[in-house]
Subunit: 236 residues, 2 copies
């Protein structure tokens, strides 16, 4: 993907804003599901209910639209994630927290991530795009990594490190944090497989509760935090 550019930043009238917005929404919907090559400009324009030429006009090219979608994802996800991340960062800088305090913050963050990642219908669209970019990164990977994954990772590393009594850049800290993240991601990525296996129709609040409860229990065990009684209350 060649670096084409910032032409979509050109100032256009208010009507143009609508077209841009709708194209980005269509891209978010379709690129994630069908991949960049799997969706044509005609289908994009059709879904966005704008003219075919609008893609070139506003984003320079199909690739420009794709990257604009990536930027949109970052902006959108940050909107609901920033409060949680800022809170953690603020507390981390106030004073050195105890392991228990870090753990409590971690649980809170994971809870929020789980709910959004699995519960929100939007998440399906953009996580798919992130996963595709992980398989075969394009220019959009940089946008997604710097704006989205890196901040989350950093926060997780500091909390997990705080619990383990290790630095946030310590290899063990990072590996354990990734493993924890994996337990969350799997329920998104293997959604089709899991629903089939468990005869679930969708992730509703019942199912989300069961998943959250399992994840928290595991995280507690992994980080050797004093465990509450093993939950059989997870059966929803």
């Amino acid at each position: 993907m060649a670096a084409l550019g910032l032409r979509y930043n050109l100032v256009k009238g208010p009507a143009g804003e609508r077209a841009k917005k709708r194209l980005i929404e269509a891209g978010l919907e379709l690129f994630g599901r069908y991949s960049f090559d799997g969706v044509s400009t005609r289908v994009l324009a059709d879904r966005a209910d704008v003219n075919l030429a609008a893609i070139q006009y506003y984003f320079g090219s199909k690739e420009g639209l794709y990257q604009a979608v990536a930027s949109h994802i970052v902006k959108k996800v940050k909107r609901w994630l920033r409060p949680a991340l800022s809170e953690v960062e603020r507390k981390l800088e106030e004073d050195s927290l105890t392991g228990e305090q870090c753990f409590s913050l971690l649980c809170n963050l994971l809870d929020r991530l789980t709910t959004k990642l699995l519960g929100s219908p939007d998440s399906k669209k953009w996580v798919a795009m992130v996963v595709r970019e992980q398989i075969e990164p394009t220019d959009a990977f940089e946008i997604l990594y710097e704006g989205l994954m890196k901040p989350i990772d950093l926060c997780l590393f500091r909390l997990v490190g705080g619990i383990l009594g290790l630095g946030p850049q310590d290899q063990e800290t990072k590996l354990r944090a990734y493993a924890i993240k994996g337990q969350l991601i799997i329920f998104h990525v293997s959604r089709a497989e899991l629903k089939r296996s468990l005869n679930w129709q969708a992730y509703r609040s019942e199912e989300l509760k069961a998943i959250r409860s399992i994840i928290l229990d595991h995280v507690r065990a992994i980080l050797r935090m004093p465990s509450i009684e093993r939950g059989h209350d997870t059966i929803g």
Copy 2:
């Protein structure tokens, strides 16, 4: 470049098998990385060093080749996974195993999976295809699910259930087993991110050892098995 007809007999029978084999290899390589739509028949034929028309001749269509690649994956993965799975199934049917025995079998299986999934260069190709099929399933999903994921899942469920004292179809069993699987998968899927974060060049034996050790430690903690000795290397 056309093959010079030095030995007319060589051009006939076995040559077809060679073309099929090479096309499947090319498909395995390219479909996983670039998606179905991301790779053209021309590129496939070129990479396979066969004629363009060979795809239609041997597989009916590009889609036929894609499904043949899926079947190939199942066959190939089963070849190295079957021994491990059969062994577990045999032992499970012999007599009711203790939790410790189940745990030992589980560690062994996870170890084998980790090594192959993260260490083998081939795995990168086919896991990518499986992940893409999870995002947006096509007809190939059925092939991959029935032949590959289901057998692995079943085995995991029985072992995890055996350790927890629950049935293999119990919801808690399945959720915990999935969470465990997630810890493994994440190191494959987020490979790019992780390498960047840890300054790793690749997954070499050093790095694999670190990952394996973390995963086993976590599984032990999750399933409340006594951590007698760190490392308990089952297989290299």
